[in-house]
Structure formats: structure tokens, C-alpha cells
Symmetry: C2
Subunit: 188 residues, 2 copies
Amino acid sequence: MGRWEPNARERLAEAALGLYGERGYEQTTVAEIAKRAGLTERTFFRHYADKREVLFAGSRDLQELFVRAVADAPENAAPIDALALGLHAVCAVFADRRPFARARHAVITANAELRERELIKLASLSAALADTLRLRGVAEPAASLAAEAGVSVFKVGFERWIAAAEDRDLAQLVREALTELRAVAAGS
Amino acid sequence: MGRWEPNARERLAEAALGLYGERGYEQTTVAEIAKRAGLTERTFFRHYADKREVLFAGSRDLQELFVRAVADAPENAAPIDALALGLHAVCAVFADRRPFARARHAVITANAELRERELIKLASLSAALADTLRLRGVAEPAASLAAEAGVSVFKVGFERWIAAAEDRDLAQLVREALTELRAVAAGS
């Protein structure tokens, strides 16, 4: 496996985001990413399957974390309260990643294939959350609707969090989005 | 423009769906679709840009109808009530299209590219509804959250409507999904 490279994964991600932003995602090669990070291509491929995975590896981790928190919610928690616990868990992970999230968002927004991939990841998250709620005994269509609501709240809160002038916490913005969704659904 | 062909558009759509279901979407050509419909390729291209558009032309019409109904809702209607009017308008259009919708859904589910396209169409619908709500004076994040909720309610109601044993109306299933979303958001 070669020698141990301190923070190789993070260095590669940072180098990749920098290059995607400067030259465009399509124009950047794995060789260039490795070079900027001061690492070899071989090291790159120990951490990421390809240059797209640098952008989406985090989505998989997020889904696992979100699902686990919902699954572990107290047995008697209402679906929306179980989802709130999941949202809280994922927000904690993002706390110090705003610059990365902003750079990532700019790259994805500029590329149709990446935008599609992002939609697929969100649909996958929603499906996984609906499965989890059903395992908790939530019937349909409540499970699917609650899962979709949870993803919408995360998405809207996240988009506000990465907006240019925004400096509030992700957790706060997501909580506000959940409160707002409740108000909207109640007809206010 | 050639001679007038009665119901050419519908005949082409029916022929296309039949072939996509029997042979697979990828394996079907426009020539085969036109032949089964008893029409020419030239007529096909007067109605659809390509074989994919047979599946997605309806999504564009749906978006226009949905957006117009939300825009035309009474000025003092709450966002969720404006959306309910939009949902009601689109459900009316689908009333007699369940067999087509079921066949279309089976084709889309079987093909990754088409599933992505469907996600893009739903994201586009959500963005258009959020724009419409903002034009009605709804602030963010309420506009985006309400739009996402409206799309989720439609999606979940629609998926139940096309389920194998289901025979209730789309309008009824969508109304139930909206009621269920309100209950979920309220924490029940």
C-alpha cells in the first residue's frame, strides 16, 4: 500500500476542488490533482475511484450518518422528530467544512452531469430514509412524505448555509428550515 | 407540413410505449415507432424531437399547468393552499391516462438515464413553483420549502396511483398525501 501520507485524503480533495474551480471539472486530470497535492496518482486511487468521487464520497457518508441517527431515534419518536435527530447528526459533521462545501457547490452547479449526480444522491438519501422509517413501523405514504420533507429541509438549509454572505451555523439554518416547513404545512 | 394525420401524436406515443415495454427503450428506433403507428418518421419528428421526448413532453405541459394554477390562486391564499390548487389542476389532466402513466413508469424505472431525466424534471418543477411563490410575495426559505413539499405530495400521490392494484383517483390520492404531509409536519 506504499508509505503513509499524512492527511492524503483531505489534501487530494483540496487540490481537486482548487483545480476544478480554476480550470473546470472536465479539464482537470487525476495526474494534476495528485501533483498539486504533492502525492502520486497511485495514492489518489487508494482514496478515490475517480475524480468525480472526490465530490460525492461525502454524500455516501452523510447518508449513512443520517440513516443511522433516524434508526437510533427513541422508539416513540414521531417520524419528523426522528428526522430532526438525523438532521442534527449530519449538521455536526459539516461544521468546519463551509469553504469546501461552497467550492464543491460552485463546481457542481457549473456541470450538468454533476448536477444530475447530485439529484441522484438526494433521491437515494430520500429512499434510504423512507426505508428506515418503514422499519420503524411508519406506514406509507407517511414514511415517503416524511423522508422527502427531511431531505428538502436539509437541502434548503444547506443552500442557505453556503450562500455568499451567510455566516450562521448549518445546524441553525436547518432548524429554521424545519420550523418553516412546519409553518408552511400548517397553512401559514 | 404534409397531410393531417388524426391523433398522430397520441398514436405515436402509444406505439412508442408499447415498443419500449416489449423490446426495451434503447433497442427501439423512431422508424419502428412510426411504423407501428402507421405513420412516417417525418410525422414522428413533427411531434417529438426524439424518442425520449415521447416520455417527457407531458412533464413540460404538467409544469406549465401547475405553475399557472399556483400563479392564479387567490391573492390571499397561503402557499400550501396555492399549491393545492396547482395539484388539483394537474390531477384533472391525468384522469384517463393511468395505463399510459403505468407503462411510462415501467420504462423509466428500467433505464438509468431516464430515471435521471425524471429527477431533473421534478427538480425543474420545484424550482419553477418556488419562483412562482416568490412572485406571489412568499419569502425564502418558505417558498422553496413549500415548492418542494408540493412536488413531494404530487410524486408520492402519483406513485400510489400507478401502483398495480390501485384504483382510486389520482386527485384523491394526492389530496390524501397532502393531508398526510400536514400530519407528518405537525409531528403526528
